[in-house]
């Protein structure tokens, strides 16, 4: 992720001609390049140099707080089972999710679907044995050591423990994808009434997304 940012800065400075884009993941950085403008033999040493310079410095990170409603059984059909399997009360599961220090690592699978690491260790569970055919949009879910928010209604095998009134992908927005690699993330508990109020604003396109972000 730090290399993704470093390559991005080098591209903007004009140091990596021919690089089209990069895709950060937990194990690698994919670098897409135009073979008519450069070559692997030319690029590889330039990127190795970026790595050798050290990557930790200079990551501008946004801190984002997402509202999440855990209270409605329709929103959180797996909350009771997660509590049972982690030997907690439902309130303790919610508290552990709220207390987790989340960081967005990778987006993929669907536009705007973020793999968010940092889940409290006490909530680690494998994926569901039987994936759901339809997970509603904006469901907040956990599996293994991560949390995610479904940007679209889609199949899914994660445990659904809440729902945010926000859309992680909204084609009406100038930046349709809300989360980005490197974002720090935490959840804020809201009740159903607040959920409905925010959902109305999001539907209408009048929600002020800037209120969620601190830099």
């Amino acid at each position: 992720m730090a290399l993704h940012a470093a390559v991005g800065r080098a591209r903007e400075a004009g140091d990596l001609p021919g690089v089209i884009e990069t895709v950060p993941t937990m194990r690698s950085l994919m670098v897409a390049y135009d073979p008519l403008a450069t070559s692997r033999a030319d690029l590889q040493p330039r990127i190795d140099t970026l790595i050798a310079r050290g990557l930790s410095a200079g990551m501008a990170s946004r801190r984002i707080t997402l509202p999440c409603c855990y209270d409605d059984p329709e929103f959180a059909p797996d909350l009771a089972e997660v509590a049972k399997r982690t030997k907690k009360t439902v309130e303790q599961v919610i508290a552990a999710h709220l207390a987790s220090a989340f960081k967005v690592y990778v987006l993929g699978f669907m536009p705007g679907l973020a793999y968010v690491a940092g889940l409290d260790r006490s909530l680690y569970l494998p994926r569901r044995d039987q994936p759901r055919v339809r997970v509603p949009r904006s469901s907040v879910a956990i599996a293994i050591d991560m949390t995610t928010i479904y940007p679209f209604e889609s199949p899914g095998g994660w445990h659904l423990i809440g729902r945010t009134p926000l859309w992680m992908f909204d084609k009406r927005r100038e930046q349709p994808v809300f989360l980005a690699p490197g974002d720090s993330l935490s959840f804020q508990r809201i009740d159903r009434k607040s959920f409905d109020r925010i959902a109305r604003d999001v539907d209408a396109g009048t929600f002020d997304w800037a209120t969620l972000v601190r830099t």
Binding site: M26, S28, P35, L107, P111, G112, Y115, P151, P176, A180
Partner: protein, 344 residues
């Protein structure tokens, strides 16, 4: 009245595509874009459009389009079988592919079937007047974005044209259909070839693989001999480039194409060299291919050589004369006619 092409009968899977929505893969946004980038580029070049202008990608069978503009020049590229132009006052007339045609108001262009390829292209001079999404007109149907409301064309859709009428010009054609090559599909090993046994890698390059019915803009599932994994079929997900060849647990290769997801968790035995991606974008179910490994340096050189051949094909465009051999260029020069539509 605004100028448009109206869909009076949709084809099977017609979408607007340009050369892709690049720069957003890190946000999980697939690039989409033309499956056969050469076909789209040639269609644009025939019309004098920029190479990356969005055109209509025809999937297997094209639409019937009513011209609701004074005139429009279109380019058809790909093995159509053939397209036909109909007008209320004239008998149907077949239209050659790999060239431009001037159409006029009230005519219906029946694009028809493609033979021997899964994709063909229809571009219009000046392009379509639709709003880009994240910098591109490419349709990505899974997220409902780009092109015509983020979906394939449907009955009654009206494709707005940037130009209300065609500029007087000669029609142009390719000197010969573009040669995509016919040998094995060239691939570069990896990035996870170490997830396969030596036998598995040999199976992959020494066997014929047949395009299954599960082939679409996202990718092609192949049928053939099973490729043996060495250490399971799960990796920590990493980025998926165009032409990445995933081999899930069942051992059969899946080549990922324009609408591919941006990251994936199956090991990738090899990646198709960009020179041969347009060929994959044209494959039909039942066709068989073989994969041949090349080095990164060879793949880069093959692509540069292909680029020279595309430039040569464009330099070699011919003026397309209507039947009867009327020399429109000469007529224009002598100012005998001006923007008149000919009937062949």
């Amino acid at each position: 009245m605004s100028a448009a092409l109206k869909v009076v009968r949709p084809g099977l899977f017609d979408t607007l595509q340009d050369l892709g929505r690049t720069g957003f893969m890190a946000l999980g946004m697939p690039t989409a874009g033309a499956m056969d980038r050469i076909g789209l580029r040639l269609a644009n070049a025939l019309l004098g459009n920029p190479p990356g202008m969005a055109g209509l990608e025809i999937g297997v069978m094209g639409p019937d389009l009513l011209v609701e503009a004074d005139s429009v020049r279109v380019a058809l590229v790909g093995p159509l079988s053939p397209a036909v132009i109909e007008a209320p006052d004239a008998p149907p007339k077949p239209l050659e592919s790999d060239r431009t045609h001037l159409l006029k108001r009230g005519q219906i262009l029946r694009v028809g079937m493609i033979e021997g390829s899964s994709t063909a292209y229809l571009a219009v001079a000046g392009g379509f007047a639709l709003p880009p999404f994240m910098g591109s007109l490419s349709t990505y149907a899974r997220a409902g974005v780009g092109g015509m409301e983020g979906r394939k064309l449907g009955q009654g859709d009206s494709l707005p044209l940037a130009h209300a009428q065609a500029v007087p010009a000669d029609d142009r054609k390719l000197a010969a259909p573009f040669d995509y090559g016919s040998g094995p599909i060239r691939v570069v090993w990896g990035p996870q070839e170490d997830y396969f046994t030596a036998d598995g890698r040999r199976t992959f390059v020494e066997s014929d693989y047949r395009v299954s019915k599960e082939a679409d803009r996202m990718g092609i599932r192949f049928e053939g001999p099973v490729i043996a994994h060495a250490k399971g079929a799960d990796i920590i997900s990493d980025g998926i480039g165009p032409g990445a060849i995933q081999v899930p647990g069942a051992g059969l290769p899946i080549v990922l194409l324009a609408d591919r997801q941006t990251v994936g968790g199956y090991p990738k035995i090899a990646t198709v060299a960009s020179v041969d991606l347009p060929r994959l974008g044209r494959l039909l179910p039942g066709q068989a291919v073989r994969f041949q490994p090349v080095t990164v340096e060879e793949a880069e050189k093959l692509r540069r050589d292909q680029e020279s051949r595309i430039a040569r094909a464009i330099a070699d465009f011919k003026v397309a004369r209507p039947p009867g051999g009327i020399d429109l260029a000469r007529l224009y020069e002598e100012n005998l006619i001006d923007g008149v539509v000919y009937e062949g």
